[in-house]
Structures are given as C-alpha cells and as structure tokens.
Symmetry: C2
Subunit: 599 residues, 2 copies
C-alpha cells in the first residue's frame, strides 16, 4: 500500500461524494477526462514517492544551514523540486493563459496533496510560489506580471510571503517596514521581516518576495499597509538577473518540524537599497494579501490533513503487520500472537485517525469543488453564495485539521509505541510537522474571532443560512438510507445548537465577553461541519454498498463505520462546549495575570 495516498479513497471523494465527473464535462476542463486525470495522478504519485518521500527523513535530519549570510539546503531538496518541475506538475493549478495546465482545482489539490504528504519540507517551496504567483495574477499590473510571472509559474523562481516582523506577529497593524517612493515607480524598502518560509535558499536563481510595508504618511494600523513585490535579485528589462537587491539574511529559525524549508529573518535595505514595486493600490495591501491568505489558509488545512494522512497510512500498515499480544479472551502464551490491528484500542486509535483525516480531507475537496464551481459558473448570485460559504468555512478549513489532524498524528505514534517515538520511524516527524499549522496563517484564536465575531454575521448572517441550506440538502438526501436516520437527526440538532449559540452570543451587551470563548465555538462548529462531511460520505458509501460491488464492500463498510464513530464518539462533545459559549462563561475572561501564580 502507498504511504502517501489511498487512491480508492481519493476517487471515492472526487467522483462518488463530490462531482468531479460533472466538472470534467464543463468546457473549462474540456482537455481532461477521468482517464487523463488518472494519468496525472499516477505521474504525481510516482514522482512524489520516488523523489519526495525517499528523502523526507534526510531533509528533516539535515536541515538548512546558515553559511556566510546564505541559506544552504540539503542537495536532495533541489533534486526533488527539479523532478516535480520536470514532470510539469508545477503548473497544474494555473490557467492556460498563464502557461498552466488549468486542471480542476480539486485535482490540482490532489496533486499537491501527494507531495505535501510525501515531503512537506520540499513541497512548501513550490506551494508558496504558487500562492505568490496567484496573488500577482489577481492584483499585479500587467507590467509586473510580464516581468515576473512566467519564471514563477515555471518554477524557475520561487515566491514568498513577508508579513510578520519580530515585534508584529499576529498584530499586522504594528508592522514597521517602510516603502519610500523613489519617484520612478519603484520604492525603497527598509525593515525586518520574520518567519519567512523560503526567504532565502540556494534552489532558484531568484526569489520574489510579496512584502507588506507602509508608505510615508499612510494611516496608522492595517489601513495603511501596502503590498510590494520585492525580488531578491533585481531583474533587468531584458529579463536577465541583475544586481543583488540588498536583502540580508539575518538568520535562520530552527523549527521543531517543517525542517526542510528555510525559515528566515530578513533585513531589507540595510546594506544598500532594496527596491520594490507596488502590487495593487496604495494602502490596499492587506486586502490584496488576503487573496493569497484565503488560499494559503485552506492550504494550511490541507497540509495538516496530509501530515495526518501520512501518519494514518503508516500506522495502519504497521498495525496490520506487527504481531504483539493475544486476544483478551485467549491469553494462552503458547498460542501465536495476533496483529496489533486486532486489539480493540488499536482499532479505536486507527478509527479516530480515519474519522479525523478522511473527514477533514472531504472538507478540503468540498471547498475545492466550490472553487471549481465558481470558475465554471456564470451565475453571479450562485457565485456570491459560494463566496460567502467559503468565507465561513475558511477558518474551519484552517483550524479544525490543525487541531484534530495533529491529534491523529499523536495517535499514529501511539500505535507504533516505542518505535513511533523514535526518529528511525517517520510518525514522530509528521507530528512535529503538523504542530505548526495552528500557528501560521492566523493563529487558532484569530480564526475563532474571525468566525464568531465576523463570519457568522456577514451579510446579516447569510453565510450561516447558506451553510444550513447545504447541510439540509445533505440531510434530505440521506432520507433514502434508513440506517442513517439517527445521524441525520443528530446533525440537524447540532446545527440548531450552533444557531442558538450564535443568537445567544449576539445578545451580549459586552462584545469582548461575547467572543471570550470564540475558539471553543470554532472547535464545535468545525465538528458539525465534519459530521456533515461524514454524512455526505455515508450516503455515497450506502449507494456503493447497494450497488453490490463485492470488491469495494469492506471499503464502504469502513466509511459507514467511520460515520457512526464520528457521530457517536465526537459529535456529542459539542453540547457542553456550545453551552459554555452560549452562557458567555467568563471564568477565563475575568482572570487577572496575577491570579495564575499569585504574584
């Protein structure tokens, strides 16, 4: 079995639960059919297994070094990226007009997912580049696009996002990097940027930074932030590489995981002039950055799912091949040992992983389908509905996998026992990698405030109405499956509880107290959405079982069991949590810093 993908499950998600077939019939994706999609996935799996998976442990153990002001990566990094680029996989997500393959986003995500699963440290370089390039496409002038985009699309140059500064992490309002207009359309940038993934490397001849900075006299706070394209090396008018743009690598951060990707402290304009170019309008930097950030946030969720999928597949394979102990009802030491996958608690740990990983996985593809639907529909009203739904789902897409797929990684270690705790096996690496995801692209708390303070209220609560309608459609569709009637009722009741909580919170006269338990709300609402994803899967599995395909019987039964598991073992947890939110519990909110330890 593959350690990076369960193709049967991927097909199930894309073709049975969701409507990739229908999408492939659309003119936009006319070049593809199921056969060609399969071929691309085959190619991706092969390159990811051969070139990414094979060096993942090495790249983690021998992390990038800071040498003479430059970042040096492990040589296998460059080789792996070259194989990915050479296979033409760098361009799966771009439109044809930009030199891309114009695959459905769902399939593009499946391709990227395999590489993330195989080796997140290498994969990050290209995915950050794709994000930066997409922002340039969305907000950059034609001139900037002409000059910088082709090399980014082709993977010749990498891209980064430069938001944070040492004193301004979550609080972007407080960034200090300055951009002084030079009068010729360019700007001189000065300041320090922190946590820049891929901020320096020896992989590509240039790096295109997307940098948030402030113009002279701009408004205070986030309203005065502009976005700049800042190349590591200047680019001549003929497209050749010119002088250094004087961005100094001040140091590398040494992370617990994601060690294959350089993470940098960069100084702009310290040792000479650093030139940048405005992307989008003045003071519109944050809004423009969000073009990239929403995509980045779903990618973070996808990354969390993929790290957990790696752990799930590995620990499942291990459990099915590791003999240890005997059944509780027959402890005779003379009888042979059984595989640990036969022990009830190992089953529980594998099932928990399955429920978390495949539940979140389905959500990622559901969102990809929404994006594809937007791209293939001319119905403005429908697209507006989808946009609102995506806004509401984004904090869940980002945060729920960051929490529960990390939990899955914790359990993968437990399945392997002592072996799982050593670096001789990969599961501890996945756990270290995944711990990042709650932190970058907006912390857990920020997404809690986003969903409860903003997203459930936008357009008069329209996003929640849309979600409710979508969930109701799934509940209605489940009516054909009598064995899902309890789950349908539970989901309905859970959604009602979410809505009642939103109303209760809205009635608070203290807006800060109202949001004090926002993280807990985000967590609970995520559970409802994932339960919905499981009901979707169960409906498809139920149809599959009815179709009587013997070869797939165990697969579909597993889906039905995982649905029952999520509804019985997980969904009930939301009740106590939502009660805390609705009651505006102030236990934590009322605390003073002194009360924690007494001084």
């Amino acid at each position: 079995m593959s350690m990076i993908v369960n193709r049967r499950d991927l097909d199930f998600t894309m073709y049975e639960v969701l409507g990739l077939n229908k999408l492939l019939n659309h003119q936009r994706y006319a070049e593809f059919d199921r056969e060609s999609v399969d071929a691309i996935l085959d190619l991706s799996q092969s390159v990811a297994e051969d070139k990414y998976l094979s060096c993942a442990a090495t790249i983690d153990a021998e992390e990038p070094e800071y040498i003479d002001g430059k970042a040096r990566t492990h040589p296998a990094t460059k080789e792996a990226l070259a194989a990915y680029n050479d296979a033409g996989l760098m361009v799966t997500g771009y439109d044809a007009e930009h030199g891309g393959m114009q695959l459905p986003w769902m399939v593009h995500q499946a391709v990227n997912g395999m590489f993330t699963c195989a080796n997140v440290g290498v994969a990050s370089y290209s995915f950050l580049t794709q994000g930066a390039a997409n922002m340039l496409i969305a907000c950059g002038s034609q001139e900037l696009q002409d000059k910088y985009l082709p090399n980014m699309v082709e993977g010749k140059w990498c891209g980064t996002m430069c938001l944070s500064e040492p004193q301004a992490g979550s609080s972007l309002a407080d960034i200090r990097t300055k951009a002084e207009p030079k009068g010729d359309g360019s700007y001189a940038l000065s300041g320090t940027k922190m946590w820049i993934s891929g901020g320096d490397q020896d992989l590509t001849e240039n790096i295109i930074h997307m940098v948030l900075a402030k113009l002279p006299g701009s408004p205070a706070g986030v309203k005065g932030i502009s976005l700049f394209l800042v190349p590591k090396n200047r680019v001549n008018d003929d497209g050749t590489i010119g002088d250094s743009n004087n961005i100094a690598l001040a140091g590398l951060n040494h992370k617990m995981g994601h060690r294959g990707t350089t993470n940098c402290l960069l100084n702009f304009g310290e040792s000479g002039e650093t030139l940048g170019y405005l992307v989008g309008g003045e003071n519109e930097g944050l809004a423009n950055m969000f073009h990239m950030m929403n995509e980045a946030r779903i990618s973070v969720g996808m990354g969390a799912v993929m790290s957990a999928k790696a752990g799930y597949l590995y620990s499942l394979d291990y459990a099915r091949n590791r003999p240890q102990g005997r059944p509780l009802v027959n402890r005779d030491p003379e009888s042979p040992m059984i595989m640990i996958s036969e022990h009830a608690d190992v089953k529980r740990m594998l099932m928990t992983q399955k429920a978390f990983v495949e539940g979140a996985h389905t959500l990622m593809y559901y969102c990809a389908e929404l994006i594809d639907t937007q791209k293939t529909s001319d119905d403005e009203e429908d697209n507006q509905r989808i946009a609102l739904l995506l806004e509401l789902l984004t904090p869940i897409c980002k945060s729920w996998p960051s929490e529960y797929c990390l939990e899955a990684n914790k359990l993968a270690i437990q399945v392997l026992g002592g072996y799982g705790y050593t670096r001789e096996y990969p599961v501890e690496r996945f756990y270290r990698d995944n711990r990042l995801n709650h932190i970058h692209e907006g912390t857990w708390a920020i997404h809690g405030l986003d969903i409860l303070g903003r997203k459930v209220r936008i357009a008069g609560g329209a996003a929640v109405d849309i979600l409710q309608a979508e969930i109701q459609a799934t509940i209605d569709a489940s009516a054909d499956c009598a064995e899902l009637s309890q789950e349908a009722l539970d989901l309905s009741a859970s959604l009602k509880l979410v809505r009642e909580t939103i109303v209760a919170v809205g009635q608070s006269s203290d807006p800060a107290l109202a949001l004090a338990n926002a993280t807990i709300f985000l967590d609970a609402m995520g559970h409802v959405v994932i339960a919905w994803m499981w009901l979707k899967q169960a409906i498809a599995a139920s149809k599959g079982l009815a179709s009587g395909n013997d070869a797939d019987r165990a697969f579909y039964q597993g889906k039905m069991a995982a649905t029952r598991f999520f509804f019985r073992y997980e969904l009930p947890k939301i009740k106590a949590n939502l009660a805390l939110v609705a009651d505006l519990d102030s236990t934590c909110y009322d605390l003073t810093a002194e009360q924690f330890i007494g001084n």
Copy 2:
C-alpha cells in the same frame, strides 16, 4: 519568577491542601521540620536551576552518540549529576538504614520534581537508579544488597530496568532472554533487550541492570519470568570492579524527546558470558518488577506533570511580558499594545494549562501522602485500604498527566506562537519530551484495561468503595464553603456516573467487548479524580481567602477560578464518554483491518 517551580503553590499543596505538617510531627520524620524542609527545597531549586536548567537545551541538541560500541553523553550531563550527588540530593528518598535522608516521600518527590522540570534528560539517570535500588531493597537478598546497594544509593553506580525486547514490547509474556543456572548461584544470561534508558553511558563506572529473563523449563508466559541483577562490569568480592560482563551495546535509539538520556539496544551473552543473580524467587520476576513499576508509573505521571509545569511557567512568563495587539473593544492602532496575557484566548490557554498541571500535581502529592501515611502508620487495616486506593489510582496517575499535561505543553507552544515552534525557545522541547509518557511503563491502552478490567473489580470492588468514601469526605468538607456547592453536586453526580458505568460494563456477557472502550473509561475516571483534587484545592483556597491574607489573595482567587474552570470546561465531557463505555459501543470493536482502507 522561577522556571522550574512555584514555591508558593508547592507549599499550598503540601501544607494547606495536604498534611505535611502532621507528617513532620511523626517520629519517622523527627529530623525534619518545615524550616529544614524549606532549606532542602531551597538547595534543590538552586542546584536544579544552576546545573540542570542551564544545560537542558544543549543536552537535547547534542544527544548521546554511539562511538566504538559505547555511548558517549554530553559532558554537561556528568557535571550536572555530580552537582546533584555532591549536594546530597541523591539520597533524599532512602531510609536511614540504607544511608538515606529518610525525607517524607512528598518532599522527596518535590526535590525530584524540580530536577525533572529543569532537565528530564539528566534527571532520568538518577531516578532510574533510585527505582532499581528500591527494588533491590524490596526483593533482593542481603548478600546482593550488601554488594550492590551502597554504590547505587550514593549514585556512584546507575541502575536500569530491562523488560522489553524487540519482539516483546507490551507483551512481556513473549520475552526470550534466557538465564541458565551455572550451579554456583549465578546465571548466564543471553538475549536482547530494547528501549533501555541509561542502558549504557559514560557517567558511572558501573551500571546495575534489573533484567527479566526466563529460566530453563519455566512455565510459558508471564508465569515463567524471573528477575536478575546483571552488572555491566562484574564486581569482585572486595567490591572493586572486575572484568566486563559482556553486555554489548548494539545501538542507540534516537528519540523525539528525552534526548539527554541514552536509550539502548543491549545484547547479553553474545560476546562472552554475561552473569546475573536472581532477585527474589524463581518465576516471581513480574511480581517483583511491579515493586519498581508502580513507583515508576507514578514517576512517569510526575514526569508528565513536570514537563507541563515547565511549559506553563515559561509560557505564563512570556505572556506577561510580550506585547501584541489591542483589546477587542479598542483597536486604535495609535494606542499602545497590551500584553498577550490580557487576550481572552491566551487566558483560556493559560488557565487550561493551570487546571491540568496543578490538578495533576495535586494528585501526585496526594499519592505521595498516601505512601507517607503507610510508612508512618501501624494500622494494618488502614494500610490495606491505602494500598487498594493506590492500586486504583496508579493507572490514573500514569495516564491522565500523559494525556492532559501533553495537551498543556501543546498550548504552551501556542501561547508563544511562532517563537514557541522554534528550538530557540524551550517549550517545543517540553512537548517532545512529554510525548513519551503515554508509551513507557505500560501504554495508555494497557492502563485502560488495568483499571476497567482489574482495578475496579479487586477485592469485590473495594478500591472503588474506598475512593468513593474519600471523595465523599472532601464533598462533606466543602459544605462550609457555599460557593463550592455546585462543584460538590457535580462531583457527586460524576462519581455516580462512574459507578453506574462500572456496573453496566460488569453485566456484559462479552468480556472483550466490555473492555473495548476501557481507554475512554480511564480518561473519564481521571477527570473525576482531578475534579476531586480541584475541590480539595478550592476548600483550602477558600480557607485561605477567609483568613484574610492580602498578599495571597490573588493566588487563592486563581485556585478558585481554576476549580470553576475544571468543573465547567472539563468535567462535563465525561458524560458523553461514559455513555459510550456503559452502552458497550462496538463501533470500533466490530471493525476488520480491511475496512480501514478497503483492502
């Protein structure tokens, strides 16, 4: 503030919540009073901060190496251990007759706790030695004690536990190491032992291994296991070191955390004869090993608490000094930033850590007090009650902190954000260290089976009756505090739920299904016990508040708040979990290995 101990909280636990004062009046501890205990704790704190904390990051980064068949540790390890030994702290836990200080176990645990908190990698060497020495005291012949004990007590020689083998981790019934009697009272050992912490090192001139092995013709399974003392180097009759005992270091395991402690694969009797000496009776090895394992299991829990305490103290200090963002009700970017400890969700994360860490911390000291009470009481019946209660609490002591104190470490990283994810800050190390604790000394699942399959049934359920009586005594004592009436009711109802669950499980006709959700039962029962510990603390805090000591007001208020937090945010979670256990839910139990991925 200290990064390894909150002395105010330690005093609160020992003197206000529990009865160290009373213990110090007992003849057994006549040499000590509060003043001398304080002096020992001062000394311990000073040595732990100066010599252990200072090199903890270094020892983690520069882990032991395997060189020419030997393990080489970082030089700071030896220096730190020497400082601990020179301060006389190695002997705090032994009785005077064995050359020990004969401190109350509670205080001995407080001393060890500081060292664990400061640097678990170094501390493990001495604590494993103390465990091995205590087993030798409990089960070894006078001759063996005379020959080996003094050097172990003084810390000149280290000790280890050798249970697992590559093919036999959790399943000790399947160990293959053999011990052939030589006819002169010694045995020739042969076999391979895995996961041996401190199994080889360059710190002490000898290492005393406590090894499980099988005699020729012994019964199959755990009934045929005997325990042997096996020195690394043979010891001459005059006590000097003789020849090598031919224990080969086959390799080191490279763990995610606990990197300061060597973890070894050892081959016995491969390159020459390895001599061992029977400890206790033939085939009584497992029972004898349990003398060490129960102590070891509580120590594992204590280790988990201490790793989490380290993260809690560090992240609290950070949160109180890191400015970032503004209050939700005043986002004016021109206003100064606030400390992150003022943000509601940071308070929630700090409070969650406090509730988990200090709740589990109290349980560890409660158990220590039980042990001290046993040591100071001649009342056989009472001691029997205490023994049963300790049996019941041991799996909780081991597993609950392994789960929730790890969760606390996860939150400590989140409080520090991106910084917390880097090795430039210590919180990611604590998280890596703590992940081990669910694995060694019996996995999570094994403790679940132990508590639900055995401990709640021993002596006709007497242990649960004793626990109930103890909890009821606390509930009765809370009657004076009107503000705790809801918590008292909740605790009472929760305990009732636990008992009902035990009854429901007992009625199952399928013993394997009855235990299928045992881990979840262990988790829920742990929550009830920790809630009890918080009620104990709240009663003491309430008294403290009533006594009107202004200096301690914030401290006591924090304890009251943490009690409310645990009862409101955590305890309600048990209801859904215990329902699954009582209903004998078979969702996971029924699964086949094929159903996870379909083949």
